[in-house]
Subunit: 419 residues, 2 copies
C-alpha cells in the first residue's frame, strides 16, 4: 500500500513552474523484484580480472563445452528468403522433433500437447500464470532455482518454500511436512528434478509422495526437468510417467544445458491437460512466436539426443566425482554426493558466505588466481537460511575445478586468520 | 471469485476409489485470456487452401518481402564454439548498434538505458509489469493492437480504452476526453505511433497533448514505435523527443517490421528513467538472455538502417496508395488515407464483419480465389464496437492487393444478395 500512497502524493504534488509532477514510481512488484543474486558479484569479478587476476567462475550454469556443430550447420542451411514468424505453438518440424526426443526418453507426448517457448524461462512464466491468479501460491523446495523468484514476482504469484536440509543431501521431507505448507491459495507444487542448485535427484518414493499429494489435494504439479540427462547414479524419474496425474502434470523443459545451447533460448511446455496447453498457447499467441532459426537448429539434436547428451553427461559425471573427492580436503566443509545436474551446495566454515564470496573475489588471490562463487542465500526465500552455504557449478574442466577447490581451501585458511 | 469456489469444491470432492480429486482448473486470468482474434479464421483459410482455393491473406502483419541477406550472412559468420547466454540486458555490440540506430533517427539513448528483449512483445510485458501492479490501469486508444489485451491479462493489468473514430481517421480526441478515463489506478498511457491497426500517425499537436497529460497527471507514457519508419507523408514523432517527459517516457521497439525479420524476435525497451530500465533488467535477469545469434544478426541493419528501411517503406507507400485508390470502387465502404504503418481499418456495408469474413473465407470464391480478413472487433475492448469494420494488412504485392480488393467488392455484392 505504501507504494500507492507515494504515487498519489506524486500526482498531487505539482511543480507550479512547469506543471509537471514528480517522476512516477515503478510498481511494487518492480521494487520487490530481486536482481539475480548469481550476477551480484559479477562486476567485482570483472574488475578483478581487469586487474590481472585470473578468476575461476563457478557461479553460473553456463557450461564451457562446445555447442554441437550440427546446430550451426542447421542454421547455415536455412534457405528461405524471409525470416518469418513461426506459429505461436512452434514450427511443425521442431514440434515433431520434440515428440521424438520425449519418446526416446520414455515420455509419450503429442505435438498438440506442447508449446515451444523462449527458453525454459518462458515455459515457467506461462505455467505459473496458467495455474495461478495474483496472490495464489506455489510450493517450492528450498533451496530452489533463484529465478523462480523472478518469475513469481512477474506473475504476482507467491512462492511457499518447504525447507530441505544439507544433512540428507536436500532430499524431500515426509508428505505431512510438505502438506503443512498447503493453504487455500495453493495451486501447485513446483519440482526441479534433477535439482538446481543442489544436484539432488528425488527417489521414486519421493516423487510418488508428491504425486499422491497433488492427486489428493487438487493441485497442479509443475516439473522443471531441464537437467533430465544429468543423472549419474540412477535415471531421474519424470512426473510424466505417472498416469494418475496425467491431468495435472505440467512439464517445463529446455535444451540449454543438455545440448550446450544456452544462447539459443529454446524450451517447451508440455502437458496432457488440454486447458493448460491451450492457455500457454494463448499466452504464446500474444508474443507471436519463438525465434525461427533456433527452433530449426535444434532439430538434429532432438532427433538423436543420446548421441549428443551422452558425452556431455559423462564429462559432468567425472567432474562430479572430482569435486566430491576434492571437497574432502576442505576442513569444516559440509557436503554430500550430488546425484545429478551439475551443481552442489556446500556448507563452509564461515558465518556469512556472501561476505566470504565477496572477499574471495575482491581481495583474495593465490599466485594471481581466485574464485567466483554463488552465495546460497539467493536460493532461499526464508531469511537467515543458507547463510554459510555456497553453490558451485561444475562448469569448468577438471584441472580448473581442482585448482578452484584448492583456492577455496587456501582462502578459507586466510579468511579464518583474518577474522 | 467464481473460479476460487470451483477450486475449493474440487479440492473437497474426493473420489473414494482413487483418492484423486477432480482435475484442477486453470486460473481466472487463463480463462479470461483471449485467443488471438487474428488467427481465429486461420484454420478455415488453411482448409480452403487445401481444397484448391487460393486465399489472399490480408489478416496478419507478416510482410511478404525478403529479409536482407546481411542477416543470414551475419548468422553464418558466427564463429564461437559455444552458443552461450548473452548478458541479460543484451550483448555489447548489438546494444551499441541500437544506440547508433536511434541516433540516426534523432533519438539520443545510451547503451545503459536499454534492455534488448525477445521481440517488442517482451518489451511491452516488461513495461506493463514495471509500472503496474495487478489491477492497475493503462489507457489505450481503441482500436488497438489486439495483443495488448494478452499482455495485460498476463500481467494482470486492466486496459482502459479511449474510443477513436473512423470518421477522423482514428486521430486522438481532445485532452479532456482522454483525461476522463484516468482513475486513481491509472499508471500509464500506452501509445502506438504509427498505429496498428489503423495506420494513423498522430500529429505533433496530438502528441504534445499526451505529453502534457502524463506530465500533469504523474503517469508513464509507454510508446510502441515499431512502425517508426513507415511514415508516408510526414515523419512520426517519437515520445523521446520531448525533454519534459524524459523521466516518464518508455520506448518499446522491435526490428520485425522495419527490417523484415519477424522471425528473429528482437526488440528493445529504452528509457531515460533508470528505475524502469533497472526493473526491465531484473525481469530480464530472470529469463537470463535473448537469443544470441539474432542479436548479432541485426547489427548490420541497425548500423545502416535507412539503407534497408528506405526501399521497404517505399514499397509500402505504393501499396498504401493503391489500397486507398481501390477502396473507392467498393460501394458503401468507409475509409480514410492511412498515414503510416501498413494497415487500414475500413468500415464495410455489413452488420457483422466477423460473419462476413468467415463466410468470405469458408464459402465465397471467384475463379477459385478468396480473401482472409481480420474482423476489427478483436481490436476493440468495448463490446459492440467495430462490428462492421475489418483490418487489412498491406502484406501482399500490388497486383495481389488489387485482386484482393476486387474480390472483396465481388464478395460484398454476393453477400448482400444472400442475406
Amino acid at each position: 500500500m505504501k507504494q500507492h500512497f507515494q504515487k498519489e502524493d506524486a500526482r498531487g504534488d505539482l511543480d507550479a513552474a512547469t506543471a509537471v509532477t514528480r517522476t512516477p514510481s515503478v510498481s511494487s512488484r518492480a521494487i520487490s523484484m530481486q536482481a539475480s543474486p548469481l550476477r551480484k558479484l559479477a562486476a567485482a569479478a570483472s574488475a578483478r580480472a581487469a586487474a590481472g587476476i585470473k578468476v575461476y567462475r563457478l557461479n553460473i550454469g553456463q557450461p564451457d563445452l562446445p555447442t554441437p556443430p550440427a546446430v550451426f550447420e542447421a542454421v547455415r542451411s536455412f534457405s528461405q528468403p524471409t525470416l518469418a514468424y513461426a506459429p505461436s505453438n512452434g514450427l511443425p518440424i521442431p514440434l515433431t522433433a520434440w515428440k521424438s526426443y520425449y519418446r526416446q526418453n520414455g515420455i509419450e507426448i503429442d505435438e498438440s500437447e506442447m508449446v515451444i517457448t523462449a527458453g525454459g524461462s518462458e515455459a515457467i512464466v506461462f505455467a505459473m500464470s496458467a495455474v495461478c491468479d495474483p496472490d495464489d501460491e506455489i510450493i517450492v523446495f528450498e533451496p530452489f532455482y533463484t529465478n523462480y523468484n523472478g518469475f513469481a514476482t512477474l506473475a504476482s504469484v507467491n512462492l511457499r518454500p518447504v525447507p530441505l536440509s544439507i544433512e540428507n543431501g536436500f532430499h524431500l521431507p515426509p508428505a505431512d511436512e510438505i502438506e503443512r505448507h498447503i493453504t487455500p491459495r495453493t495451486r501447485a507444487i513446483l519440482l526441479c528434478n534433477p535439482a538446481n542448485p543442489t544436484g539432488t535427484i528425488y527417489t521414486r518414493g519421493e516423487i510418488e509422495g508428491i504425486v499422491e499429494i497433488v492427486g489428493r489435494r487438487g493441485l497442479f504439479l509443475l516439473s522443471d526437468e531441464v537437467y533430465r540427462e544429468f543423472a549419474f547414479d540412477a535415471p531421474a524419474i519424470s512426473v510424466m510417467s505417472f498416469p494418475e496425474i496425467r491431468d495435472r502434470a505440467v512439464l517445463l523443459d529446455s535444451c540449454s544445458k543438455r545440448f550446450n545451447v544456452c544462447g539459443a533460448r529454446i524450451g517447451v511446455l508440455a502437458s496432457h491437460n488440454a486447458e493448460v496447453v491451450q492457455t500457454a498457447l494463448k499466452f504464446g499467441m500474444a508474443r507471436l512466436s519463438v525465434a525461427t532459426l533456433e527452433q530449426l537448429a535444434l532439430v538434429p539434436l532432438l532427433e538423436s539426443p543420446a548421441r549428443y547428451t551422452a558425452p556431455i553427461v559423462e564429462e559432468f559425471r567425472k567432474r562430479r566425482d572430482l569435486v566430491y573427492e576434492e571437497l574432502r580436503s576442505i576442513p569444516g566443509a559440509t557436503f554430500y554426493r550430488p546425484e545429478g545436474a551439475f551443481y552442489i551446495v556446500i556448507g563452509l566454515p564461515v558465518r556469512d558466505s556472501e561476505h566470504f564470496a565477496r572477499w574471495l573475489v575482491e581481495e583474495f588471490e593465490h599466485e594471481k588466481e581466485t574464485v567466483l562463487l554463488a552465495p546460497a542465500q539467493g536460493f532461499y526465500a526464508t531469511p537467515g537460511k543458507g547463510l554459510n552455504e555456497v553453490r558451485i557449478a561444475f562448469t569448468l574442466k577438471g584441472e580448473d575445478l581442482r585448482r578452484s577447490l584448492s583456492l577455496i581451501r587456501l582462502a578459507l585458511e586466510a579468511y579464518s586468520k583474518k577474522s
